[in-house]
């Protein structure tokens, strides 16, 4: 699927932990070392462009020496994915008037998880067609969505294996009947077709086997620790810690190698805090200006994280 030298990194973590900043910094670091790097944002709420201070699009764009960036347009990916499928279905089911193709595709468009499928497809596309990069970095959506995407190949393989097994049973039965009764045909929509009995002539089995090999390759790439690694970004707070602990457990189950856990936004230097306070003041003022007329609340950072009913009740007085 990839050149031997291409390294793949996934950056994931809780929303707002600094995944994009860390992944962008990693891209710059690698580029400085002479690696040709592609960094792709898979987060539907893109902010890679903000971090690089550049306008990014759905296709790779060179923004500095050795650095290529892109923000995957999920809506477009989903539309393309469904359009391709619709074309395949239309040619096959043109005679099935009772089968409401448009309705079927509308249901799929709105079905849960379609975004995960489209994300995995986007990852596959990037991995398959972006030869020539030394490193590919994926800045992903917050942990939950990313874990579902990364689990998809494993889940799909389980289903495909069961379906292949069932299909082979069907073909066995058909072949047994054919041996006694002779070749069988069936008519659908006035079209006469031969009943396929052998594995090499059955389109359904062929497609399942082909898809199995494609997904198997993605799974193999994801779990190959010599080319793929995952970086989790967390913040030094309890909620972030718990989410990271849960994520690590799931990722270990999926056999995806974790390269590093970055603890971002650690308080170290008092002078830095003074600078941060000045910056904060400017941003609060700008937000007040920008969202004039909207209900605005300033909630101070607490020494202890607000967790538990009592603390949340106390915390709520700042907002409501």
């Amino acid at each position: 699927m990839l050149d031997k030298m291409t390294n793949i990194s996934f950056f994931t973590g809780k929303g707002g932990s600094g995944k994009t900043t860390c992944s962008a910094a990693y891209a710059v670091r690698l580029a400085d070392k002479g690696h040709k790097v592609l960094i792709a944002s898979l987060d539907p709420a893109h902010n890679l462009g903000d971090v690089f201070q550049a306008r990014l699009s759905n296709s790779p764009r060179k923004i500095a020496d050795n650095i290529y960036t892109m923000e995957v347009d999920m809506e477009k990916t989903i539309r393309k994915y469904l359009k391709d499928t619709a074309n395949g279905l239309k040619s096959m089911y043109r005679y099935l008037t009772t089968f409401n193709l448009e309705g079927y595709l509308d249901t799929i468009r709105l079905s849960p998880g379609i975004e995960e499928y489209a994300t995995l497809d986007a990852i596959r596309d990037i991995l398959a067609s972006r030869r020539g990069y030394d490193s590919i970095i994926f800045d992903t959506a917050p942990t939950g969505l990313t874990l579902k995407v990364l689990a998809l190949p494993t889940v799909s393989l389980i289903w495909i294996d069961r379906l292949i097994e069932l299909r082979e049973k069907i073909l066995d039965k058909r072949l047994a009947i054919e041996k006694i009764q002779g070749e069988k045909t069936f008519v659908i929509g006035g079209e006469k077709m031969k009943l396929k009995t052998r594995a090499d002539e059955d389109d359904v089995l062929r497609e399942l086997v082909k898809y199995r090999s494609e997904i198997g390759e993605v799974k193999e790439t994801l779990s190959n620790d010599s080319i793929t690694n995952l970086v989790i970004v967390m913040n030094p707070d309890e909620l972030s810690l718990y989410e990271t602990e849960r994520a690590v457990k799931v990722i270990n189950k999926l056999e995806i190698p974790i390269k590093m856990v970055i603890i971002n936004k650690v308080m170290k230097d008092e002078k830095m805090w003074k600078a941060r306070l000045d910056l904060q003041e400017k941003i609060v003022a700008k937000a007040k200006e920008e969202f004039r007329g909207k209900v605005l609340r300033e909630v101070p950072m607490e020494a202890i994280e607000p967790r538990g009913i009592e603390t949340l009740r106390d915390f709520s007085r700042y907002i409501f």
Partner: protein
């Protein structure tokens, strides 16, 4: 073709047909299950990830037709089994 040959051919055809009756019933059921599994999301049973379904559904014309027929006959499943087993 002599009448005797036609008679023997008829007998043989009948034997052949009887010998595969159960197999054909089993095959229809398997094809039906295969289609239901793939279209399961419509009726609320666990179904494979959508891309798997979308990959094979263009080639599932026969299974869809079998599934439609099974749905039409769903009110007389016992009748079909009784016929198959020569009961009644």
């Amino acid at each position: 073709m002599s009448p005797l040959f036609s008679f023997l051919r008829g007998i043989l055809g009948s034997f052949k047909s009887r010998s595969t009756e159960y197999l054909e019933f089993e095959l229809r059921e398997l094809e039906n299950i295969f289609a239901i599994l793939l279209m399961g999301s419509f009726i609320g049973i666990p179904s494979p990830p959508t891309p798997v379904v979308l990959r094979v559904i263009p080639y599932m014309a026969r299974e869809m037709a079998v599934m439609s027929r099974r749905a039409e006959m769903a009110d007389d499943v016992f009748g079909e089994i009784a016929g198959l087993l020569d009961v009644g």
